[in-house]
Subunit: 321 residues, 4 copies
């Protein structure tokens, strides 16, 4: 859970009231690294050595749909080919009902069709296991088949029920200016889905890299508002650049020199999944526009219903000087 | 999680101690909008443009049972019709066992029955694939069939296990008066289900619309009590209209002029689902009755068991002046 | 979530610093009620009127195993009997392969066996649908069958994966005495399962009934310790009866006159279910023993492993005066 | 949830501001116990007496994969053998289609193959139930079969979707020294999986055993930082040995005399499982090395991507004096 006070991300037991914050990404580096977080929320990190665990479940749950379907089809094909070859090795004479002319391709197809009929438990029975050998192999295949579809059931449910937030971020963060003249860092988000996010919280970190030592520093950027109760429309997240802000007094050249990256972490409760969902993103220094303001991205229709336009989420206009 | 102190919904990092609160529903509108939240908990918001994601899983999980059954039947019918047409195209001669007189409707039915027997993996076998073509198509259909039922399993489980609160709200909120004469806003809730909700929390926002600018403002209404440990009976939620309250000194005409809407958010732990459940509702200015009090909605039976009457939840009586 | 400070269960927005607490069980009653919470954690509450929702999923998830198996068998039997009667109505001549002598009982059995073979998708095929009528009905039954087993899969998973705590409570609460002479209320709990509960929290309420008005009052009883990090052995929960305690200065007769009931709510994270689990219980005034102390319920085996004895959890001895 | 302030694990209602903490593992023991927590996170505790609940679901969910597959195969074999014996008892004459020479082993195999074809709902039909007796038994077996695979589906999903953290701990904790000379206790962790842990929290307890009375005491060790936002690389957890620390002024001999054990509890949100995951470990006094420092375990590749080396997680070097 995100702490209700953003400052709580800094340990309460710190000896020195911490002004910097290492979010577990590391602090001292031999050279410049890429951005910490990519736009899809992944990290630019690799793992090496040790008892590294590849988790097939996680892999199958997280891959896109087309590769997943490919994996299913290939797995289904290979397993049935293997069983078909086993039936061929036992001899098709032991599968009464196979009547087609005997040549190797037709034999293989006959065995493959029988295998698939067994694996999926269709079992028409016009071909059936006529010996102990094919009886054993087909019994094993039937068990493997039902367990495989038990697995597939779990995987499909796992894929569908995995709670994911589809938060649409504005392409650029901007440096804008409040009515009282105070500059502020802003970006804008909207929900791509028609579901409702509740109790949405935002946390924003600033990553800076020392131009000389390459050491990385992480600072929490306090937000004008870090919590909203409901998230049906768009939300403009604002960090006021007060004299306390690590961004105070810096210009575009400083941002670039320090390889600044604004890291965003969102968390909310999704009514559909009935679970918390998370989203991440970051803006690097070249994804921050100066002296702009966002144009309102929603309007009210004739029927009194507010309409949010996801395409307009990115629209900004210059500040009048 | 709802913060344990209701004031925490206002960002702790606000530059100016916030008295208003934008719950992500928007603030500045070109014209009057409908109520923010409908009685079924939905928002009066539409989405447009952008990479809008229709999520079939969410759609199938959230629809009512009769439409869902309709979708299942139509999907089952269309898919089997398609496979039946494929078998027809390959020729019924390749499905040995089909013995009925050949006319197009009877042929189609024969192919359809074979298709369904394959799709559901019943596979009686009195009709069976007798060629490579029907062998391939029936193998594909068997795979599609078992994967479809794997999907259906996940969908049915997802529908049933989705934690939903069935909170019964009184039809009207009322403006009542405490024993010491202080006016207060009240509404009453009960649990429609026989399950037990634990650690139920309430949060109440007031939406007001500026009659001139149409700007919307959201204020948190502090509650006499915003948390109860157990929720077996009914709960009367009370906001005392102290001089600090945004409702202080206002009458029914003011409520209407400002298009006031009282927005309620409930959250509790459901013992059956073993998860948190949420409920939302709102009362618009014309759903608030003045100078009423609620009549007790529970009594004790002869067996010493308390009985809550959901029909009496709405009953109020005039305050004696 | 239980608040980290127990006092937080009393609303932070109370006008008067609350000393009493209505946990949603009701406050004013026309007559004496039974105990609030039974030993199995259920409440003595009924519901009446309104759009009362019976939720079959909750019912099937929460019932004991034997009744559940009974429901499954009866449902399976009735549905197959219905389909068998449909096949009989269509005429067994339309189910080629039925060869047994025709009498009504044998006919019914033949139709029933065919129905079950279709419902479970076994489909041997020695009997098969030989007309459009039986073709349609058997197609419908095959669809109903696979969807039924999809449902059963979800129900079985829901029953097994439902996180439940098996907390063993001492049969009696006791009034004991600290080393410094201060009296205290104690009860003892242990985990019946071999799983580990983490971050276990306890909250204890005292229900008192006014002997004259029958009004009920609920007070939070502060605990010497309301949180433990790990719960492998037993835990003695202690409320010190300081002058601030609502139990201060009261004797057994007062407990009975006020129908006192000590209500306990436990919450912890279960490592196996990977979810929070909850437990409830209560001790009524006649389940509280005076001037006792608990005997230690664990010892260290020869292998250096601590052993907790669930039978000794209840053992107490008199306080030496 | 771990409290945001570590001190909150000590009850806020304590009469005396607690300096020690009993984490439910027990306090007073007749003799020395083994370490409290093993490296696999299990506790050295046994249970005895009482209504001890063996939960088959938990057992099947938590066992390793090979034993689980063994249980499945044995269960499948025994159940089908039982049904095969039932068919034999009814007489193979009642299973038309069995054509093999009749000897007991071949008869048993024929019955077993028919049983498996029924259990898995393959039902080729070359053998089929030809009497009421075999009709009943095969109907029962088909029902048991589909329900068994419904169960297996739930178990497989439960095993895969159970959220587990694979945190790699350094083999040794070390006593190191800060730049300002203050000694500190350190250990290092990394994520074995390529998933991302968010909002990772650490809590560290110190167990000490009184050399004379064998009484155990648990103290919370405050951490330099007990929370990180993201956990892609490694994290060095640090307890500064200030004058307030229970470790202040102690040397290796004291650690051994008091059978010190440093107990670690980790909790974070796992993006893949979309749930919180927990990890536990402990270092006993002989697993703590003195006057060492950790060598950095990550570096930056040519492509600007940080690489963490799990093998180097354990590497330390002597402090220069």
């Amino acid at each position: 859970m995100l702490p209700s006070k953003s400052t709580a991300v800094i340990s309460s037991n710190s000896m020195n009231p911490a002004t910097t914050l290492d979010p577990g990404i590391g602090e001292k580096f031999s050279r410049r690294t890429k951005r910490a977080i990519n736009h899809d929320g992944s990290f630019n990190v690799r793992r090496r050595g040790g008892p590294h665990r590849h988790d097939p479940y996680q892999w199958l749950i997280q891959m896109d749909w087309w590769p997943f379907i490919g994996v299913v089809v290939v797995f289904f094909g290979l397993l049935n080919t293997a069983f078909a070859l086993a039936y061929l090795a036992l001899g098709l004479d032991n599968l009464p009902g196979v009547t087609a002319p005997h040549n190797w391709w037709q034999d293989f197809l006959s065995a493959l069709f029988f295998s698939i009929q067994t694996f999926t438990s269709v079992g028409y029975g016009h071909v059936y296991p006529g010996s102990n050998g094919t009886g054993f192999v087909s019994s094993l295949e039937a068990l493997v088949g039902v367990l495989t579809f038990a697995l597939a059931t779990g995987l499909l449910y796992g894929r569908f029920s995995r709670p994911t937030a589809r938060i649409h971020f504005s392409h650029r963060a901007i440096i804008s200016r409040r009515a009282d003249g105070l500059p502020c860092l802003q970006f804008r988000i909207a929900n791509q889905r028609s579901n409702i996010l509740i109790d949405l919280r935002a946390r924003v970190l600033l990553k800076t890299v020392d131009p000389v030592t390459n050491n990385q520093q992480y600072n929490l950027l306090p937000l004008e508002r870090d919590f909203i109760s409901f998230f049906p429309l768009s939300w403009t997240v604002v960090h006021d650049i007060t004299p306390d802000s690590p961004l105070h007094g810096l210009g575009p050249a400083d941002y670039e020199a320090q390889s600044m990256e604004v890291i965003i972490q969102l968390k909310g409760y999704d009514d559909t999944f009935a679970q918390d969902v998370h989203a991440r993103n970051s803006y690097t220094h070249d994804e921050i526009e100066w002296d702009r303001r966002f144009i309102r991205a929603y309007e009210v229709g004739d029927d009194g219903i507010a309409v949010v336009d996801l395409d307009q989420l990115h629209l900004t206009e210059p500040l009048e000087q």
